[in-house]
Amino acid sequence: MTIDGGAPDPFALERVDAAPGPAPHVHPDIAGFWDSLREGHLSLQRCSECRTLRFPLSTHCHVCLSGEYAWEPIDPRGTVNVAIRAHEAVSDLPASGVSLPEPWRGMTPYLTGAVDMPAGVRLPGRIVCTCGRALRPGTPVRAVLLEAADGATTYGFAHACP
């Protein structure tokens, strides 16, 4: 992908094939996040007053309470802070504190966790990795676009498995 037909865009997200998760619930106030994903970027809000880049998404800044902000694409390269496997055995569980609703129930085993981004935020996300190395903290992963239910797009992370 290129910007204005010029140099390659280092912040552009690749789309990765994986079983679709549930569709997000899009509140109009933060629809810019999902619009940005459709345009191929992972964007967060930067406060126009105090310049804080924030997560979770919110209508106002948690530092200065300003409601003015701009969506800013972030570098998709990150490192695993924590990752866990939702094991196959969880799909056989009756309802309990760890049982999964569909579609996750039918998707085990899969990895999920949190990734530290160079922008200074830690983002939750599914981690696409077949080799298992992404379970190790510090493993480099990249934010990617993932298909969700009803044709929606969400983000996740992918490990460059050898």
Binding site: P56, R85, V90, A95, L100
Partner: protein, 399 residues
């Protein structure tokens, strides 16, 4: 202002079970009547009520007031979560201390997905509530539901994995917790797993389910109800039962550093920062009770998942950050340890009573009514969760 609040009555539903086939309302009548009998009080003596767990899987305060024909001057209803246990009791203590009510029932009833809740209309989440990740912006969990971590167990598994990655704790270390709690349950006639022994070897043979969590790390969801009656010391003295004082309290610490309910601060759970946590030497809950940490005879914490015990021990400074796994392995949390914990068997083995089972157990211990689980000479017990709310209960031997 000095607290003036005591627990004078406690009760549970006649059954605590996986599927006793009783509605939340029926279970709540059972626990409420049991607590009144225990305190030798009449329903007309009760003028306040607080509940956390409302309809449809529990009973809303107004539903119960009408059904039980109560006349109350003060009521409160919290949010359908397990985190409110201490807060509900604190509200009752504040109500009787300030005089807005004289006798407050802290009463909760709850039915689980494998129990009576099967008879209720389908609800969108396992808690029977609105999915909190659908809050504007995904809420403080950062929209984790859409990332394959849609339940409490996934949040607990992530925090446990962060702990194990950082400090090298192992599955065999974690095993000590469910194994000890199962042994306590063996001595608790009410515990749902009283007849199901567990060894470290059996634990390690269970498959992992979510991250490092196995079946025995996960609480037993049950249909049940609990009730505690709270009143002033003056009124308690008239009742003729051993008096248990609510001697200290401290609220939920809520901030971006503390909001993740399965982690102590410093592990970097959710969006909270990673740093080396150092527990303070003392806490407001202990100062208010006029005791030191070393004066405690036992410690109780909300344990829907085993690693919560590690988190709570470190949060409250019973050992340093990163030492809880070795502490549980070497010193243990049983009756023969320096600090017995969750002696009823807790949520893992007695059954998930949203923490109120622990509160009842603390009262039993301080009355000397805990049978084979009795902590010899128990005088002061603390409740404290990894996210920072706490209570200290004491008996007359401390005053």
């Amino acid at each position: 202002m000095q607290l003036n609040a005591c627990v004078v009555g406690l009760g549970t539903s006649d059954v605590i079970g996986k599927d006793p086939g009783r509605s939340p309302l029926r279970l709540q009548f059972e626990s409420f009547r049991a607590a009144l009998r225990d305190a030798n009080l009449d329903k007309a003596d009760v003028d306040g009520l607080v509940t956390a767990w409302g309809s449809p899987r529990g009973v809303d305060y107004d539903e119960f007031v009408v059904a039980a024909g109560l006349e109350l001057t003060w009521v409160s209803q919290l949010w359908t979560h397990g985190r409110w246990t201490a807060t509900a009791i604190q509200q009752a203590a504040m109500a009787v201390t300030t005089g807005v009510a004289e006798v407050v029932a802290v009463v909760n009833s709850h039915v689980a997905a494998q129990g009576y809740a099967r008879k209720l209309p389908q609800m969108p989440t396992s808690l029977g509530a609105v999915d909190e990740a659908l809050r504007d912006g995904g809420g403080p969990y950062g929209n984790w539901t859409i990332h394959g971590t849609p339940g409490a167990g996934a949040g607990a598994a992530l925090a446990a994995q962060q702990y194990m990655d950082r400090y090298g704790a192992t599955a065999a270390d974690l095993a000590r917790i469910p194994v000890t709690l199962r042994a306590f349950a063996h001595d608790n006639p009410m515990a749902v797993l009283r007849d199901r022994e567990l060894s470290v070897e059996q634990y390690l043979a269970e498959p992992e389910l979510m991250g490092p969590l196995r079946q025995s790390d996960i609480c037993e969801m049950v249909d049940a109800s609990t009730c505690l009656l709270v009143t002033t010391a003056e009124r308690a003295a008239d009742v003729g039962r051993p008096v248990v004082h609510i001697a200290g309290m401290q609220g939920i610490q809520s901030g971006r550093d503390n909001y993740v309910f399965f982690s102590r601060p410093g592990l970097g759970a959710g969006v909270s920062p990673s740093y080396d946590y150092v527990a303070p030497k003392t806490f407001p809950v202990l100062e208010r009770a006029g005791i030191a940490r070393d004066d405690l005879d036992g410690f109780y914490t909300y344990d829907p998942f085993s690693p919560q015990i590690w988190m709570a021990l470190e949060r409250w400074g019973f050992c340093a950050a990163g030492e809880a796994a070795a502490y549980c392995r070497d010193k243990g949390i049983g009756l023969d340890s320096p600090l017995p914990m969750n002696t009823s068997g807790g949520s893992l083995a007695e059954g998930h009573l949203y923490g109120y089972g622990h509160m009842l157990e603390m009262v039993r211990q301080l009355r000397g009514e805990a049978g084979p689980r009795q902590i010899t000479g128990a005088r002061a017990l603390q409740w404290g969760t990894p996210w920072g709310d706490a209570l200290v209960f004491t008996n007359e031997q401390v005053r």
